[in-house]
Every structure is written in C-alpha cells, then in structure tokens.
C-alpha cells in the first residue's frame, strides 16, 4: 500500500499544528518521523488515523483520494495506530484482549477460531503466552500485544507514536526487530521518535518536522547523525554539563527499611541514602518496582513499614505522609495521568503544588503571569496559560511538569524518566535543571532506563530488581555489563 498525504493542514484555535504538510509513505517502507516537541508529528498522524479531522488537504491511497473521518474508516482502509497509553484491559488475558478487538469477533469462541486470532501473535511475539493476564506483562510486551491487536485488523500501515520512549534498551531492540519484520512482510510503518537509535535500527527514510511544516526528508542510509540532530532541533550541541558532586557528604534523603505493597509487586526493605548534591540513579528493567518506589518516597503510596527522612526529619511513614511537602519535587512517569489535571488550565496546573496553602481567593492575575514566565523559561509551547494542559503535545506537557517541579529550590527531587518524550534539546534543558537543583544542595533520586545517561550523569547507581535493591555502585566503577547482570537478577561478584 502506498500512501500520500497532500498538503495537510490542521489548526487548533490559534495554533497551526500542521501547515500544508505533504508526505509519501511507500509499501513496505519504514519512515521515521522526527522533530522537536510540538512540531506537529502526533497531530499529522492522528489526522491520518482519523482521530482528528484535517482542515484541508488530501489523503491518497494507491493514488486514489480517500476520506477518513474516524479511526474506524482508517481501520477499514488498513491504517492502524499504537498510542503510548495502552488500551488493553489488565485483568483479561492476552487472548481475551485480542478477541475483544478482533473484527467480527464471534460471539462464541473456542480453539478453532482462537487460532486465527493468535496467528499474528505467534508470528511477531512468539514468547508471549496467550493465557497470561495482561497485568503480568512487561511494558514492551504490552506494546507488542497492542501492535498485534492493530495487525489483526488487517492493518497494512502501522503508526507508532514514540514507541521506544517507555522501553528498556533490550525491549527497544526487540521492537526494532518486529518493525523490520513488518516491513519485510510488505507492511508500511511510520515511527514517531526522538531517538536516533530507532532511526539507525530500522528506518529507511526520515522526515523531519519543525513548527508544523515538513523541514526535511532524507534517505537514512549514509546520513550524518550530527546533521540529523541539527535538522531536528537546530543545533548539534545537545550534551548537558555534568553536575559535580560536592564534598560535604551530609545525608539529605534517607530511605530506611522501606516496604510497600503494589499491584504487581511489593517493595521490600529498601535502604538508600542520598547526600546533599548527590544524584542517585536507579536502574532496572521497567516493572521492577520503579513507579512504586517513586510514589512511596513522594508520599503517594502507603508504606507498610519503614520511613523516608529528609534532613533527619520524618517525611513519609506508615502513619503520616506528606505528598504536598514543598521541599520535595516530584516528576512522575506518564505526566498526563500522574502529574496534571488534564482538563484544567496550564496556569492552574503550574500553581498546583501550593494550592492548599493559597488564600481563599487567589490572585489570578499573578498566577497567570507567573505561568507565562515559567512557560517562557521552560519553553512550553504554545505559550498559553489558559489552554487545558491535556491539549499540550506529549513533550510540552513533560516540560510543564518539569517547570512546576524544578523551578523552585527543592531539598529532594524524585524524577522518573524526566526526559521521556522530549526532543534532544529539551532533554538537555531538563538535565540541566535537574543538575542545578543538585548543585544547590538537593538530593536527587533519578529513575531511568537509559544506562548510558545514568553512567554519564549519576554519581551512584542503584539497581532495582523485583522490588529490592540488588546493589549500589559508584558510577565511576560501574559499566554496562556489570549493571546488566544486576538488572537480570545476578549478584555482585
């Protein structure tokens, strides 16, 4: 299937999200769609998928103009999309989830028709057992099920919106393999991404968007990576300055025998100490308790035992918790779900941490202008304090949360994948804001799956395995193999 977007324009109020974008996607081709945050990548693909209706422009399928008014239309034409937020039902098994989404699902299902439903699962994700409940799958596996769900609807073009931003390196590699396999079977793939590894691993052609327009189109083979970065964000210089560890060594944030029950697994007996100015990286394959650890330290999850101390003072314990303590900054994963009220304005979401302490009738003017300043400083676009935060692009939403949590001096910061979904320049800005907090004496608990970044920027690295700390290493003495062993459940030799 050949697909062509002709002069697609989409406006949201004053924002011109797509400005006459024309794009060609060949049969069996993998196209990487790059571009800075808010460039219009997701919008363009959502127009193609019928989630948004474009204002003007055309979609040509094998040279014929088609009209796509809804995702159902797109599906009928063989266009499928996998979003970052999965739509699987955790309590059901893989088989049941696939069955629910299967076109013309039979009212009665047994072994016979189950085979048809599971054929593509066997082809693309043979290591997932059909009778596992989805809740027990890793993020990467959930994504594969989601992908098979789309393929089951006879998709010939699959759109993936930042699929690797939530994946550990091994899982990303697995996905790259699947994408190449899709292309080999004649399907086309569009992958929206900020990561050059994705481009390197599977793309044949690259399209770069900037400010709603198509800025460049290049054949991947032989393109210089510095050039690609430059095309994406306008500069090739994206490495942040490293934070130096101060010598004082006083313990600022302390986790003592922290135990806590989660949905999938429990944290047991976590002991960690972070000095003032220290960045403690937490590595681990996702699903080993990272999100629970972050929630426990920030006071959102109830502790069964143990305590979190800040400067020797009780911050979180089994009896009292203080998620709103202004000394603590918290950047959770999935900001749309965990960090903002999506229907409420940017201005309010930025003022949120102090809300309970505001006067009864807060000064809205001041709140507004403070929001304008923060959005300017952290480059949140569009710079509209009145816009509902859920309307921001993925990366800009992340920047909004960073602005709220890191613009004030904190004593401790818990940061989960803080650069998730950010373009390279924005990621650099976030690292710099984080390191600035450290330099001013905050203790940083930084959860990440990017071992290279952890090794370059963290002072020490703890590895989380099955809800326990498998080991803590100074970053200088750690290397990938070493960490890899710990992450897989091995012991320090």
């Amino acid at each position: 299937m050949q697909l062509e977007l002709v002069s697609v324009t989409k406006r949201f109020g004053q924002t011109l999200a797509n400005d006459a974008v024309s794009l060609f996607i060949g049969a069996g081709e993998v196209l990487a769609l790059l571009g800075e945050n808010g460039a219009g990548k997701s919008t363009l693909m959502k127009c193609l998928y019928g989630y948004y209706r474009m204002d003007s422009g055309q979609i040509l399928l094998d040279g014929r103009a088609v009209s796509i008014a809804s995702p159902r239309d797109a599906m009928r034409l063989g266009i499928g999309m996998v979003f970052q937020q999965f739509s699987l039902i955790p309590a059901l098994t893989v088989r049941e989830n696939l069955l629910l989404a299967y076109p013309q699902a039979p009212a009665w299902h047994g072994r016979a028709n189950s085979a048809a439903i599971l054929r593509l699962l066997g082809e693309f994700a043979p290591d997932i057992a059909a009778d596992t409940p989805v809740a027990e799958l890793s993020v990467g596996q959930k994504q594969q099920v989601e992908l098979v769900k789309v393929l089951n609807q006879q998709a010939r073009l699959v759109i993936l919106d930042e699929p690797t931003s939530v994946l550990a390196p091994e899982e990303a590699q697995r996905l790259h393999g699947i994408i190449r396999q899709l292309a080999a079977t004649g399907r086309s793939v569009v992958i929206i991404t900020h990561k050059l590894e994705d481009v390197r691993a599977c793309a044949q052609r690259v399209a770069v968007m900037r400010g709603g327009r198509l800025a460049a189109e290049v054949k991947e083979t032989g393109v210089d990576e510095r050039r690609l970065v430059e095309l994406m964000v306008g500069t090739a210089d994206v490495a942040p300055a490293v934070a130096v560890l101060p010598q004082s060594g006083i313990t600022r944030l302390e986790l003592r025998k922290l135990s806590c029950r989660g949905e999938a697994l429990n944290l047991r007996g976590i002991d960690l100490q972070i000095a003032a100015g220290e960045i403690l990286g937490v590595a681990g394959v996702s699903g080993n308790g990272q999100d629970l650890l972050a929630d426990a330290v920030s006071g959102l999850a109830a502790l069964d035992e143990g305590e979190v101390l800040l400067d020797g003072e009780l911050l979180q314990g089994p009896v009292t918790r203080h998620p709103d303590d202004p000394r603590l900054g918290y950047i959770p994963e999935y900001p749309l779900k965990n960090a903002v009220a999506a229907e409420m304005s940017n201005s309010l979401n930025l003022a949120l941490r102090g809300l309970a302490r505001d006067p009864l009738f807060p000064d809205r003017q001041r709140r507004w202008s403070r929001a304008e300043d923060l959005m300017e400083a952290y480059d949140v676009r569009p710079r509209d304090p009145g816009l509902a935060s859920g309307r921001l692009s993925g990366g800009n939403l992340q920047k909004l949360v960073i602005a709220r949590e890191l613009s004030q001096p904190r004593r401790a910061v818990v940061a989960c994948y803080p650069t998730m979904g950010l373009d390279l320049q924005a990621a650099r800005a976030v690292y710099e804001a984080l390191f600035r907090q450290a330099e001013e004496g905050a203790a940083i608990l930084w959860i990440s799956e990017d071992l290279d970044d952890l090794l370059s920027y963290a002072h020490r690295i703890a590895v989380l395995y099955h809800g326990r700390v498998a080991g803590v290493l100074p970053a200088a003495q750690a290397d990938r193999t070493h960490l890899g062993q710990l992450m897989a459940g091995g012991r320090l030799s």
């Binding site: 998620p323 960090a339 903002v340 999506a342 941490r353 309970a356």
Partner: protein, 348 residues
C-alpha cells in the same frame, strides 16, 4: 474568526440555550399536535398557568424554591465528580429532623422555634448527605446507588412517623402531624398579591454565593482538581475524603432546607407527599444547567413554572399530568442533545 471577539463569545454562550429552547418548542409543538391538542393554544395556557396572574406566580415560586435548592444539592457534589441522586431523600430527612424540633416544644417562642427547627433540618439533611459521602470516601462505595437507596429509606421513615407516633389524632385518619404553629414558619413576603417567604431570596443568594465560591475561589479549584485527577490533588495537598464528606453534607443541608420550608410554609404539616419529586426535578435542572450555579436559577424558575402550569392545565384543560413528564423529558433531550452536538462539532 472575523467577528469581534465579544460577539463570538456571546454567540458561543447563547447558542446552546437558544437553540435548545427552539428545538424544545418544536418537539413540544409536534407532541401536542399529534396528540390532538392545538399547540399554540396550549403554549398560551402554559404561560398563563405559570406566570399569568398573582396566584399562578405564587404557585410557581413555591415550586421554584425546592427545585432550586435540590438542583444546588446535585450540582455541588457534581463539581467534584460525585453523581448524587439523593436530594429527594435529604429533603425528606431534613423535614423529618426539623419537625422533631417543632413537636418537641410546640409552644416555644418564634425566637427559639425557628432557629431550632432550621438547625435540626440542616443537621438532618447533612447527615443524610454525609452517609453516602463517608461510604464513598472510606470504602469506595458508589454514591449514586447509596443516594438512591437512602431516598427510599427517608421517605419510609417519614411515612412511619406520620402514620405512627407523630400522627395527630385530630386528623381523623389522615396521615400527618399536627399543623405547625405560626411560630414555626419562615417569615412571609408578599408583593402585589404574590406571596412567598424569605427562604426564596435566601436560596438565590446561596446560589450566587456558591457560584462565586466555586468559580473564583481556591475551593472551586480544589473540587475541579478532585474531579479531574484525585491522585494529582494529593500533590497539591488536597485530600479526597474530607472534601467528599463535607461536600455531600453541605449538599444535604441545602436539600434539607427545602424539606423544612416545604413542611412548614407550604404544607403546614409533615405528611407523606412532602415533595412531588422535587429532588429528581432538581437533579434534571442541575444537569440541564451543566452544573452552573448561575444557570440553575433561571432554569429552576422555568421548571417551577412548567410544573405549576401542569397543575393548572390538568384542572382546567383536562390535560393528563403525564404530559408534564413528557415535556420535562423533551426539555432534557433538547438541551443536552444540542449541547452534545455542539461539543462534538467543536472537537472535530
């Protein structure tokens, strides 16, 4: 956007109500036409029955008050995402509690009687509202179901009281308490033959105060935050449980006030048919108004007018009462339908 921004904004604000009303009138006209009534004549009758003379305005205002209060009692919890259908029960229980004060000391002076009756009614309503609030906050029990069940319970309790211990023997079998003494009535206001009492302007002021509080204050933001994302509200230091209980209790007070006014000033007894479904009509009004405390006020008046016209039509034009229910349903469908169509059109 070529028009001036003010015009656009105005058109934006007025479009749903105007279009909704038009659709409603068209649907209602069709309904009457196909049932063999001349729509034009009926519409005139309805207007006359609602606002035609001092008597009909008095009736309309009498019905507007409980509808208004019950709508507020629905809209307030809805602001934090709670769907309460409990105004009817809170109205009954508030009246029951307030009546207890009257029966305990019927001879008390107005200075003691009124505050005691009012306080007990508010407390009773608050209790009936707080029960689903506590169950929701502590155990996650669905508040909609609990409020519906508590409606039945409150009505049954009132029936038990007025058929049993509180029945006034001099009523000769008619199930009701003794008549409330003059000291247990809210002061009346009258103007050009139109009669009402001070609870009505008080309720309007309450609606306006709630409007200001919810639209402009920190509390409004807190409720909106709890509705949108309770987890994130924790980061702001806003806890679900106390807000849930307080909001439900406050809503109960509003409906409880409606109940005691109904018993004391309108019916002058506590009796089983205390409310003609005002709790449910209030629920409709709150959702018609999109939970806006400002829009609730005129809509409550319209609904009060419709109900009092229905009484008149039933008496004089022999139009069955069921027609009012149909009219209510048509109004609901028109306004919500137009609103939904508009937001869909906007999203695309």
């Amino acid at each position: 956007m070529k028009n001036s921004p003010i015009l656009t904004l105005l058109a934006d604000r007025l479009m749903v109500p105007l279009l909704g009303t038009t659709v409603f009138i068209a649907l209602a006209a069709a309904f009457f036409h196909f049932n063999g009534y001349p729509p034009g004549k009926i519409f005139v009758q309805i207007l006359k029955g609602a606002f035609g003379d001092a008597f009909s305005i008095t009736t309309t205002l009498g019905k507007t008050l409980p509808i208004l209060l019950c709508a507020l009692a629905t809209a307030l919890p809805a602001r934090m995402g709670l769907i309460s259908v409990g105004a009817e029960g809170q109205l009954y229980f508030g009246a029951l509690a307030g009546t207890a004060a009257v029966l305990a000391h019927p001879e008390a002076s107005a200075w003691l009687m009124l505050p005691a009756m009012l306080a007990l009614a508010l407390l009773g309503g608050a209790l009936w509202g707080a029960i689903p609030g506590v169950l929701r906050a502590a155990l996650g029990v669905n508040e909609t179901i609990v409020t519906i069940l508590l409606n039945y319970l409150a009505i049954k309790l009132v029936e038990y009281a007025v058929y049993g211990p509180w029945k006034d023997p001099s009523n000769l079998g008619w199930p009701a308490t003794m008549a409330f003494p003059g000291t247990a009535q809210f002061p009346a206001i009258a103007c050009d033959g139109v009669a009402s009492n001070w609870a009505l302007p008080f309720a309007v002021v309450l609606a306006l105060a709630l409007f200001v509080l919810v639209e402009k204050s920190r509390l409004g933001s807190a409720l909106a935050l709890l509705r949108s994302n309770p987890r994130v509200a924790r980061l702001a230091g806003i806890r679900y449980a106390p807000h849930c209980i307080a909001v439900m209790a406050l809503a109960g007070m509003l409906a409880g006030l409606a109940g005691i006014v109904q018993a004391a000033n309108v019916q002058n007894h506590l009796q089983p048919d205390l409310s003609s479904g005002y709790g449910y009509v209030g629920f409709l009004v709150a959702w018609l108004a999109g939970q806006s405390f400002l829009r609730i006020i005129p809509l409550a008046l319209v609904m009060g007018g419709l109900l009092s016209a229905a009484d008149a039509l039933q008496l004089f034009a022999q139009l069955p009462y069921a027609n009012t229910l149909v009219l209510q349903a048509l109004l609901f469908i028109s306004v919500l339908g137009v609103g939904a169509a508009r937001s869909k059109w906007r999203r695309a």
